[in-house]
């Protein structure tokens, strides 16, 4: 059964978007138009909502732009300082303009903070793009990927795992995007047995044709590993669906360690982070740190709000 309605709200227009009272709203601005949406909404309608804008200054550090203070993503103490700054009951993490390294550190610590009873709710906000710039990508070529290049595999802050596993006893779940090169890179690095690979494609996609683009972009590694028969689907914008799917795969193979590669949409990546938080001893995130093109999307689509603290607690 689909569980989205239990944890997710979808706002079709940014003007419909509401923020709960007593909230700390953490966000960042990227080069993409959609990341600006929170700055354009009318804030006087909200009560006791405090905004924290973070800027990525590299080397796993962020700058809080009002106080001009630096925070370390690889320090729980530092992350808790941000989360506790306004002593709000609710934490909103707007993932739209924050890269996955920042999201990972914030989400991991916010859930921990919630589990310690210090806050009531943790929500993730995500504004979909109206469209991706994939015109060139549709033409046959390996070079028109959305990411210019990747920085290479390196653990997300807070998600480093160093416990060795037997390579035969791992499952690789790859949450795919359009870029097959990233999937190939994962396969090369993780080296799972062919039968232990589960690719996941976002269906439905943000637009009807996007799943086809994902198939096309990933067709070579899918063919090479013969995993095209084993593709699973989860809505591209749904953290809940992916989280549920991951739980099902885990239930079917309880003795396997899971390597989870979030190389697709941001909602899928966030679900992967939540899953790794839920099962720290059996799930390892493997992330390749793409360097994004300056402008890879246009416009703003739906705004998704997901109550992740409830999702992770109840599932």
């Amino acid at each position: 059964m689909k569980k989205d309605y239990l944890y997710t709200s979808i706002y079709q227009s940014t003007s419909d978007f509401v923020i709960d009272d007593d909230t700390t709203y953490i966000y960042g601005i990227s080069s993409e138009e959609r990341s600006h949406f929170v700055e354009s909404i009318e804030k006087s309608q909200f009560t006791n909502v405090n905004f924290i804008k973070l800027e990525n200054i590299g080397d796993d550090k962020v700058l809080e732009t009002i106080s001009n203070k630096e925070y370390h993503l690889r320090s729980s103490t530092s992350m808790h300082e941000i989360l506790a700054k306004f002593s709000s009951k609710n934490i909103y993490i707007d993932a739209t303009g924050l890269d996955n390294r920042i999201c990972a550190a914030l989400i991991k610590n916010a859930i921990e903070y919630h589990n310690n009873g210090k806050i009531d709710n943790v929500k993730v906000i995500y504004a979909e793009p109206a469209l991706y710039n994939i015109k060139k990508f549709k033409a046959e070529s390996v070079f028109n990927d959305l990411s210019e290049k990747i920085d290479g595999i390196s653990p997300l802050p807070g998600f480093a795992t160093i416990f060795p596993q037997d390579d035969d006893e791992i499952i690789l779940i790859a949450l795919l995007g359009f870029e097959g090169g990233r999937f190939s890179h994962m396969l090369e690095s993780v080296q799972p047995p062919k039968e232990n690979i589960y690719p996941v494609i976002g269906v439905p996609g943000f637009r009807p044709e996007y799943p086809h683009v994902a198939y096309w972009g990933n067709r070579r590694p899918l063919e090479e590993t013969e995993t095209w028969r084993k593709i699973r689907f989860a809505s591209a914008n749904s953290m809940v669906e992916v989280y549920t799917l991951l739980s099902k795969i885990r239930e079917k193979s309880p003795n396997f360690k899971i390597k989870l590669a979030p190389i697709g949409t941001k909602p899928h990546a966030i679900a992967a982070m939540l899953f790794a938080i839920k099962y720290p001893q059996t799930v390892e995130l493997v992330y390749d740190n793409p360097k994004r093109k300056i402008q890879r999307t246009e416009g703003i689509g739906n705004v998704i709000e997901c109550l992740i603290s409830k999702l992770i607690k109840e599932n």
């Binding site: 290479g152 160093i162 035969d168 890179h185 994962m186 690095s189």
Partner: protein, 627 residues
């Protein structure tokens, strides 16, 4: 057995050409390479080779799990072996946790050393437990030994036996992980000295009667995945091994980036500190070594799995993959239906009769020679009659290259150059067993899909198509092998086009130009060394020492060639022959502005791109790149 069943068997026998796909079958199908015994002595050894050369298979074959399987899962036979292999594949995602976070390399070095101690000691404990499960009479580690081992790695909790020691190791590893995740908070555990716990645990383990007179082999696979400072830490351990343990390292060529220990003036030298085994060199040093090894790998699979009970099946790989002589190939390429040959035929019969005993390809060559040198065919024939020896030598030098000129250009349908025969396949693979298995797999697949039987040899056509497809597949895969992998694909597309045009274009230049050197003067882009290192490490290019190697080798002292695996796709000669000179900026030009750069390079060899035939059909996939 019908062909669908045979195709399934094919997949089982040759489809899993990566060690990780074979799982436990890796040991059942294990074929010992000629250098295997050399790895079994007590000295540190570095096994160097590209992706797919069999490093993992060999190192896993040396592991205790591998040795046990190779010895038919019999612990008594296993115990006769004089070493215990502890295999560890370096996991990038794990070792990259020990980077950044405000610590410098020196500080990380201490933390990483502790991690390595934990990792290897834990693996040794797991081995001791595994062995006692196989052999009930094993002597157990004493409470004193357990305490000492725990103490050496700063585990304070009491542990009096193997079980509790292992449990404490696991707990220690998890708490260490948590501390690494909050490295900025500075709550690190008490760290252990690099290598100390390994010395202690190996000493106590080898005192157990069941392991007396043995040595531990610490088998580290994918050494290139370590950070530079991590290689320094481990180099120190390699330099100072004890009689109780040694290292066997698997690394890609150029993946061992730092050769000194933590003391920067202390270098590791071959053979004083370790034995270097370069797989490609070992397997290509003479004509037969790779071919013999590959034959044993392939024929074993054909007999054991593919052929099954089919007694009519050809199980000799030489016979299954028949090759063509150069003249046979020219006939198959329809040399008679070419302009040069028709020009020859237009001569009076009496003139033609003067060379009537020569092969058709020779006639083609005489006409070709006349054409590019602006003379007549009759004059060339007269010259041939007067200078037979020099013409024969010339023909010998040029005849292979002539094959590329028979059916050039996209207008010509069908295969424009054949790559067939077991010997050719081994040369395309160039010491790389994975490439060879891919080639054989694809060739059989095409053969069987055409409803051909295993009792029939695979046609040159299917062998060639297999070679082209394998080239394309690996070309596309380059993108995933390195963080800037797309650069390697682009580099090969550029170089491939240059050598393809050089091979097919009519001209006065020397034949079979397919290698290049890097000019030592001129501008060198900052990331040139990294590009070349990765191109070699990921087998986009192969390199051989140049003629004038200085004492301090540099990237530009070598002779480079596109890996021969790609020659069928791009259509140039896979035989290492002549070279051209390129500048570092040419190589980056192929990545950033290919059309202009290719044109410019060819112009230097007097080829005008405007007169060059369009891309061969199989390369049309990349038309956008060349536009």
């Amino acid at each position: 057995m019908n062909n669908n069943e045979t195709l399934k068997k094919l997949n089982e026998s040759f489809g899993s050409y990566k060690a990780e796909w074979l799982k436990n079958q890796i040991f059942e199908l294990f074929a010992e390479p000629s250098y295997f015994p050399a790895l079994q002595d007590n000295r540190p050894c570095v096994l160097e080779g590209g992706r797919g050369t069999g490093k993992t298979t060999v190192l896993r074959g040396l592991s205790y799990q591998g040795q046990f399987a190779i010895h038919q899962n019999d612990i008594k036979t296993f115990d006769k072996s004089n070493f215990i292999g502890i295999y560890h594949r370096v996991n990038t995602n794990h070792v990259r946790a020990f980077v950044g976070g405000g610590l410098n390399d020196l500080q990380w070095g201490k933390v990483f050393s502790h991690y390595f101690n934990l990792l290897i000691c834990r693996d040794i404990l797991i081995f001791i437990k595994w062995h006692s499960n196989q052999s009930v009479n094993d002597e157990q580690l004493s409470a004193h030994a357990c305490k000492l081992i725990a103490n050496s790695i700063n585990i304070d909790d009491p542990c009096n036996n193997l079980e509790s020691l292992l449990e404490k190791f696991d707990m220690s590893m998890y708490s260490f992980q948590s501390e690494i995740n909050n490295i900025i908070d500075g709550k690190l555990p008490k760290l252990s000295m690099a290598g100390d716990p390994i010395k202690i645990i190996t000493e106590y383990a080898l005192q157990l009667r069941q392991f007396e007179n043995k040595i531990f082999f610490i088998l580290l696979d994918e050494y290139e995945n370590y950070e530079n400072y991590q290689q320094m830490v481990l180099n120190s351990l390699i330099k100072h091994t004890t009689e109780n343990y040694t290292f066997k390292i698997g690394v890609r060529e150029l993946g061992w980036r730092v050769k000194h220990t933590l003391n920067t003036s202390e270098l590791l030298n071959d053979p004083a500190d370790y034995v270097l085994v370069n797989i490609e060199s070992k397997l290509t040093e003479n004509e037969s070594s790779f071919s013999d090894f590959a034959k044993s790998v392939c024929e074993q699979r054909i007999k054991k799995i593919l052929a099954g009970n089919d007694e009519t099946a050809i199980t000799n790989i030489d016979d299954a993959l028949k090759g063509l002589t150069i003249e046979e190939e020219s006939a198959l390429l329809d040399v008679k239906n070419t302009t040069h040959y028709r020009n020859f035929l237009s001569l009076p019969k009496s003139t033609r009769n003067k060379v009537k005993n020569l092969p058709e390809l020779y006639h083609f060559f005489i006409a070709y020679w006349a054409s590019v040198h602006g003379t007549t065919i009759i004059t060339s024939i007269e010259d041939y009659i007067n200078n037979k020896d020099s013409w024969d030598m010339r023909y010998e030098n040029y005849k292979y290259e002539m094959l590329f000129k028979i059916r050039k250009g996209r207008g010509m349908s069908g295969i424009q150059k054949y790559y067939s025969g077991w010997v050719t396949f081994t040369k395309l693979a160039y010491g790389n067993i994975r490439y060879l298995m891919e080639l054989v797999y694809k060739a059989y697949e095409k053969h069987l899909e055409d409803n051909q039987k295993l009792s029939v040899a695979i046609s040159p056509k299917y062998q060639t198509l297999a070679a082209q497809e394998t080239g394309l597949k690996n070309l596309m895969e380059l993108e995933g092998l390195w963080k800037n992998g797309a650069q390697l694909t682009k580099l090969l597309l550029g170089l491939g086009r240059v050598f393809q045009v050089l091979a097919s274009n009519d001209g006065k230049s020397a034949p079979e130009k397919n290698q290049f050197t890097i000019e030592k003067s001129g501008e060198v882009p900052s990331d040139f060394e990294e590009l070349m290192r990765n191109a070699v490490m990921h087998l986009a290019l192969i390199r051989t020492p140049g003629n004038k190697m200085g004492e301090a080798y540099s990237t530009r002292d070598y002779l480079y060639m596109i890996h021969p695996l790609y020659s069928a796709y791009f259509q140039f000669s896979h035989r290492r022959k002549r070279k051209i000179n390129l500048k570092p900026i040419d190589l980056f030009g192929m990545i950033n502005s290919p059309k202009e750069t290719i044109k410019f390079i060819l112009k230097r060899t007097d080829i005008n791109m405007d007169e060059v035939e369009r891309l061969p059909q199989q390369m049309s996939l990349f038309e956008n790149y060349y536009k």
